[in-house]
């Protein structure tokens, strides 16, 4: 497991939880400190799971009883090209579709497709079988596709 790679991913995960760059960085470093100091478990397959569990618990601790939400309120990157309307529209449409998902569904999508967390780690984190994770991901993507079609057709 490449720790520097995972640092960026954990930071990104925490950033979209907390929406604050500095807090996300602080908690990322705290996550890695705790992970490096404990090293109780040496099963390679579980190290990533523990890293995310530490990050998740730290962000929950930070918010106390607040519900974790993902909001996508950051500025949308406008590509530096002449024909930017289409990609921009696609991003806005996708963002709308993502907002209709529950926070847990968004988190699952984010972890697997953006942070490349393997299904085996996700099944450990969520305490469900791998088959259940695959099924959920497929269902969520189908929902998004359906939402996008509805939005595109007006």
């Amino acid at each position: 497991m490449n720790l520097e790679d995972q640092y960026d991913k954990i930071y990104r995960y925490l950033y979209f939880h907390l929406h604050d760059r500095h807090t996300a960085e602080d908690l990322t470093q705290e996550t890695f400190l705790r992970f490096l100091k404990s090293r109780t478990y040496h099963d390679e397959n579980r190290q990533l799971q523990y890293l995310y569990t530490i990050a998740r618990n730290l962000s929950r601790q930070h918010f106390r009883d607040q519900t974790m939400t993902y909001t996508l309120e950051e500025e949308i990157d406008i590509p530096a090209s002449e024909n930017f309307e289409q990609p921009l529209l696609e991003q806005i449409t996708l963002r709308d579709a993502l907002q209709k998902l529950s926070p847990e569904e968004r988190e699952l999508l984010f972890l697997h497709y953006v942070n490349d967390v393997p299904v085996s780690v996700l099944s450990g984190m969520y305490k469900i079988s791998r088959f259940a994770v695959y099924r959920k991901l497929k269902r969520i993507l189908n929902r998004i596709r359906h939402e996008l079609e509805v939005l595109e057709n007006g």
């Binding site: 640092y7 490096l36 523990y50």
Partner: protein, 241 residues
């Protein structure tokens, strides 16, 4: 838009600003030696070998003595009574698995490098396999002293052994404060109960009732498997908090 396009768009949507202190953090971590801690990799075989030496020697001596005692009794035309000694083999296994509770070692084992679950699984596996292998070795020897075929001897020996192991495991799981003594007592009582079978229920050793013995054997195997599985999964693991 297909799924691949959706995933591609999602990656573009969820872009975070670059972290500012990453390099500094890793430099400091390296200075403090946090990154250089090497963990030795251990194979399953090495782990089992460690657990093998960790199991008390007297358990192996007891198992060996019991197996020889069973063979000796069978050779003296003792009828079906020696088969009732096999539950005592299970007593050794249950006594050993209760050891960490007896010596309050659970916390120490949990703090050690290996999880308590893996330690328990390894010990149960080793003791179970070696005791069962011992029984498999003496069964053909015992067949020489009886008119029964090998399969029949196998059933008459394995059913009491597995029944005692199942009941003892069940008791150990249900009674959290058990330190192995209760389950050992159950094994002894099972041995006494099976010793009374040739006396009061001699007809159970008739050939026509072998199907019943086979059914009980399968039931005990299933029950024991579920019991061990639940014991291991219910074993407390330290949860990061």
């Amino acid at each position: 838009m297909d799924n691949a396009c959706i995933v591609e768009q999602m990656k573009k949507t969820w872009i975070a600003p670059e972290p500012a202190g990453k390099e500094e953090f890793f430099l400091r971590a390296e200075e403090k030696g946090l990154l250089n801690r090497r963990t030795t990799v251990i194979t399953h075989r090495e782990f089992l070998a460690i657990q093998l030496f960790y199991i008390e020697k007297r358990i192996w001596v007891l198992s060996g003595f019991l197996l020889l005692f069973i063979v000796w009794n069978c050779s003296r035309n003792a009828g079906n009574y020696p088969f009732a000694l096999t539950p005592l083999l299970a007593a050794g296994i249950l006594f050993e698995t209760g050891r960490s509770g007896r010596w309050n070692m659970t916390e120490l084992e949990q703090a050690a490098r290996f999880s308590a679950r893996s330690v328990m699984l390894a010990r149960t596996f080793l003791l179970g396999v070696i005791n069962t292998a011992g029984l498999m070795i003496i069964i053909p020897v015992i067949t020489r002293f009886y008119a029964y075929p090998v399969l029949r001897i196998f059933l008459y020996m394995m059913v009491p052994y597995l029944t005692a192991a199942f009941l003892g495991s069940l008791y150990e799981r249900k009674c959290r404060t058990d330190r192995g003594w209760g389950s050992v007592l159950i094994c002894i009582l099972s041995s006494v109960a099976f010793a009374s079978v040739p006396l009061f229920f001699r007809q159970l050793y008739e050939e026509r009732l072998l199907v019943l013995w086979a059914a009980v054997l399968i039931l005990m195997i299933c029950g024991l498997t579920v019991c061990i599985w639940k014991s291991i999964s219910e074993k407390e693991e330290p949860v990061w908090s």
